[in-house]
Point group: C2
Chain length 255, copies 2
DNA sequence: TGTAGGTATGAATCCGACT
DNA sequence: AAGTCGGATTCATACCTAC
């Protein structure tokens, strides 16, 4: 039996298709809808917004990154509340946010019925986005909580509330993808052999991390290109081979 | 002329006594009113609230740490709005918060008329308060912003948006005091030779850091015991001697 | 002065017992 | 019942003591 299940689907619809209390942790990186101050900025070509000037990395656009602040909060509360139903009582949840979205996400997570338990900064290192006369934005944040007040996490040790890891292009399969070591750290909050859910899986880094740490994975991704990359990465990981080796194996050797 | 001014006063009253546009930065650590889910926990003896059970740390209590969430936000907006008047246009502001108060402080800073510009985590190191099955609370947070939209910070270089510093016993003069190196880093956001304001000065670590970094200082503290400690530290720093040496000099050698 | 080993500590949180 | 109280728990590091 496969240790993962990955589908091409819209997040809310996918969540609705899952049974009550059928997963042990939710770990995800929902589209931030951050960046531009004006609606025009947010609606503009999303592909270019995230790439460093001068280096055009060809990555597919991704959907759902153009909501305003209020709509973003409302939409988060919607899927978070559906995720609560799907999660076993006592399950932990981790949601990424940049500094601008932290208050909205902490509100939304609570509006969705989860108990907010803290913030885990992800430190991207000193190189990240220096700018004159201000504090650099070198951190992103993981807002975390649990389903219900009582913790069911005795099986899990004490985890550090800060992750250091700078992003290498090597490990970057999605435009705003998170490094695998960061996800491996977060995944440890899920009880061993438990099921990790990621309804915004992208290139499935959460899933790869879950498999590497001995957890199982359930997730979905809407954008076709990312879904394809994610599927390859998951299968390569499940077979214990590199992505390149796996893909080479998929191609007919003698065309 | 003295490079600092430190008074025993209540914060809001002190702020009201200051002239418009008379300081160049606001850097402060207001009482969090956090820690404790119930009103009783928050209202309980502050001396015991923050220390390990069974060990009594001999430090004076401090005032104003018992507001509920809503009152805390309202009160912050009040003094923040008064601080905005006192700050020159373009001045930066830094306010400490623990994870629980971050959203309230980001709201309050904006309600007070400031432009919110980011979050700077202070990492206390891996030793901080572990507990089973959770991410440790090893960070506190500095919410920062500016007076008005246009930054007037060209005189200041690029500052790191994360501070690592473990609290040492030597450098801890207040029950919840911040390490001097942390404050030295923050104080650099103030233009050189500018005036740093701290209306919740406690043992005046902000002031000491300001002097060490070549800035001037204006502040107040309500609790008498901390006011006394702060005054000694500032004067010792201004004279370029250690706190112990300064205090020894104050005592008559032959009683 | 240096190293090794024991102890104390932390802006905490949980849970059962009690009012 | 909902709210409150108090004891027990967690571990990496700093600090202290002994050699």
């Amino acid at each position: 039996m496969s240790r993962y299940r990955f589908e091409r689907a819209e997040a809310l619809a996918f969540l609705q298709s899952l049974d009550d209390a059928s997963v042990d942790a939710v770990i995800t990186d929902a589209p931030y809808s951050s960046g531009g101050a004006t609606r025009g900025d947010r609606m503009s070509n999303t592909t270019l917004k995230y790439v460093h000037t001068g280096t055009i990395l060809e990555r597919p656009e991704f959907a759902g990154d153009n909501r305003d602040q209020r709509a973003f909060g409302y939409w988060c509360a919607l899927w978070l509340s559906e995720a609560l139903r799907v999660a076993r009582a006592g399950s932990p949840i981790c949601v990424f946010a940049d500094w601008r979205q932290v208050p909205t996400v902490t509100d939304a997570i609570q509006a969705g019925g989860w108990v907010w338990r803290g913030i885990v900064p992800w430190d991207k290192g000193p190189a990240a986005r220096p700018s004159m006369g201000r504090f650099s934005s070198r951190c992103e944040y993981v807002v975390w909580g649990t389903s219900g007040a009582s913790l069911d996490l005795e099986s899990v040790g004490c985890l550090q509330g800060l992750v250091h890891c700078h992003q290498t292009t090597d490990d970057k399969h999605h435009m705003v993808g998170k490094p695998t070591p960061v996800m491996q750290h977060l995944v440890k909050i899920c009880p061993p052999a438990g099921i990790v859910l990621d309804p915004f899986a992208g290139s499935a880094t959460t899933g790869v991390a879950a498999l590497l740490e001995g957890r199982r994975f359930v997730g979905c991704e809407l954008t076709e290109a990312y879904y394809g990359i994610g599927l390859d990465r998951l299968e390569a990981c499940a077979q214990g081979v590199s992505l390149e080796a796996y893909r080479a194996g998929q191609r007919p050797l003698f065309g």
